[in-house]
Amino acid sequence: MTADVGARRVAARPRIDLTVFLARYGTLLSLVALLIVFSIARPDVFPTVDNLLNIMNQISILGTMAFGLTVCLVMGLFDLSIAAMATLGGYIATFLLVQYPDTISVPVAVAIALGVAAAIGVMNGLIVSYLGISAFIATLATGSIITGAVLGISDSKTIITGIPDAFMAIGQGAIILGVANPILIMLGVGLVLWLMLEHTQLGRHLYAIGGNAEASRLSGIAVKRYAPFALAVCAVCAGLGGLMSAAVLGAGRPQGVGDGYLLNAFAAVFIGASSLRPGKFHILGTMIGVLLIGVINNGLSVMGVPTYWQYIVQGLLLIAALFSAGVLTMRRR
């Protein structure tokens, strides 16, 4: 039965369908539309180079975390520990720098913070692969453990004094052409992960496992080794996001750093999965999702719309994006 249906569809394929077109390019079109609307509404403030760089700067932490999240969602793994991981990354780096100002340099502190995040990510993956616990639950649990551990170590005190300028430069400086460092970090992470997912065997295996784990296993892919890798990448990106946040603020907060990013990161990745290649998580799509969120938030505040509208609009946007992706997925069946 399916065979016959499939055969007929081969012939029907070249026709371009409006629904398919909208599902594929709807997100991109709404991004362009929003840019135009905000530019017309506030021509003096919104469409300036400064403001556009400002938007990029505002989304850089979210973008970095969302790129990492894309990697594990490609495999079908939900990582809910990214909020706690962000808090952890920022706190560990500032804690080390303040506690051991003479022995630990900024690069070493960053390396240790990201290393700890990677180790926890690997642990998440081992729990998923070898204990057979779903990533959703496993990362919810490890997230709680991390939150508790950081609170305990910090005695709930924020680190403010003694953070070296070299560290704060990560968030506040601009090494190349006056472009803020967080933007460069986000773009760098995005580029590396895009190359990895799209152009290496590793990335192709991640997509294959997300598509059909048993088919991948029968094709000789060591399926169980990939969850620790994907969750470690995601954890490092989350830790890096938190570290950037600490550098921007000049403070190591022991709680709540990542909370605002958790939902937005998922929203961005899912919006991204509705654009260009519907139903697939991919870095370029995530970038569009992150930009969309950034533009909405910036545009609405530039226009003086109360902050609570940002939440409402984001929620509506997420539903619209998932609906359009869902329509296309249903039609493909």
Partner: protein, 520 residues
Amino acid sequence: MLATHGATVGPASASAEGSCGGAFLEVEGLVKVFPGTRALDGVNIRVGRGEIHALLGENGAGKSTLIRQICGASQPTEGRILVEGREVSLPSPHAAAALGIAVVHQHFNLVPQITVCENLFLTEGLPRRGGVFVHWGEAYRRARALLSRVGLDIDPRAMVSDLRPDEAAMVAIAKAMGADARLIILDEPTAALLPGEVGVLFGHMRRLAAEGHAFLYVSHRLAEVFEIADCVTVLRDGRNAGHWRRSDMARREIINAIVGQKSFSEAISSAPVRQGDVLLRSERLGGGRVAEMSFELRAHEIVGVAGLPGSGAEEALDLLYGRFPATGGRLVIAGAPVAFRSPRDAKAAGLALAPKDRHAESLLPGASVRENISLPNLRRFAADPVFRFIRRGKERAEAQSVAKRLSVKMAGVESPIASLSGGNQQKAILGRWLMSGAKIFMLNSPTAAVDIGAKAEIYDLIRQIAHDGAGVIFTSTEVEEFPRVCHRVLVFRDGRIAGELVGQDATEANILNLAAGGAE
């Protein structure tokens, strides 16, 4: 009058009368037309009171359609159904149940996570106090009564998931019998049962039959039919193909009636052109349902592995491919002993598996034809040894050349695999392993859900693979495919190779006979 009930076709027309005792159910000249086919074309069957009547036939012979008419799930186009001598119409399963006709489906229709009692009252609802609260005391009392009628001594509060399969079967029968079933239709009730459990089930059936309950028993397992059935009716292509009573049942005749006269011009039924080197040798290898198996596979050879469901035939392929661990014996590939811990090891040794369920086990559903073909072969496209950047151009060119060789019909290798027909999807799967250069192809039902034209192409492809020097191990749920595809057939029974049929001897009838417990 009597002659019209009996078989008019087939070797048993001598024993023409279609029933053993007084008739409970009579079906006369039943016709069921679906658009394009006559699924039933004048079927007669007569089931006596207290009779265990087996209904046999290949897939598509019309067994399920006949049962659906008898139990009121569907209405016949022509013909009469009589219950206790009176013509009846059965507009719904409810109407059939009211006349005492009940059906137990293959998987028993029980919900495992709730209790026996709750299952027994699933259809009619649990007894209530004042129409609101469940009257558990009454429910358990009635459940015990139902269970004791089928001779089952279990606690109605037990979870169905905790029961043995034969107990679950009896619970399903108790549920089907409900108030007062006179005819119980069993659709492959033993498929999930172990041999010992089948014996227990048969004991219960005989006792219920002695009390006057009739059974219409559908099965593929001939050995069981000979053990339990009072009468046998065989259907073929929607018609009666024979009828036997216990006294004159003959295995060969029954098998011939099931199989019919078939001729395949393209059947291989002869030795391969060349005898190649031994690619694989299994020495008493066992694991899972496979107790042990010893055989050799040579290059250029297509070896069939046949057997009834649960016999170990299908599991043999999974075992060889390392999908589950071997518990005994030895596997030798190209002269060297191996121990596969995973499919990864098997693939590395040159094995390939095309599993039975294409969608669940083979395809990347959202991916392109190219990505599906290159799935196990990405390494060969790596531009560097560290990052393994994929050379997309080379990948596309090789995928294209494989797809062209197999004449996969598609818009292009970048088309979604989901846009291809089943047959072309299967060709892409085979192409995946051709590209990998596998030396041993293991194919489980490669033509399942594939249309007839594509089937022939896939048979040709299998022959080509063997011709080009690989060895092929083939299994299928359709017995008629073995003579068409294989040079020789290993027939499994109870986890062991019961016998081997070579060349002209590997007929459908011989395979069925051996699988069902006959001599070679």
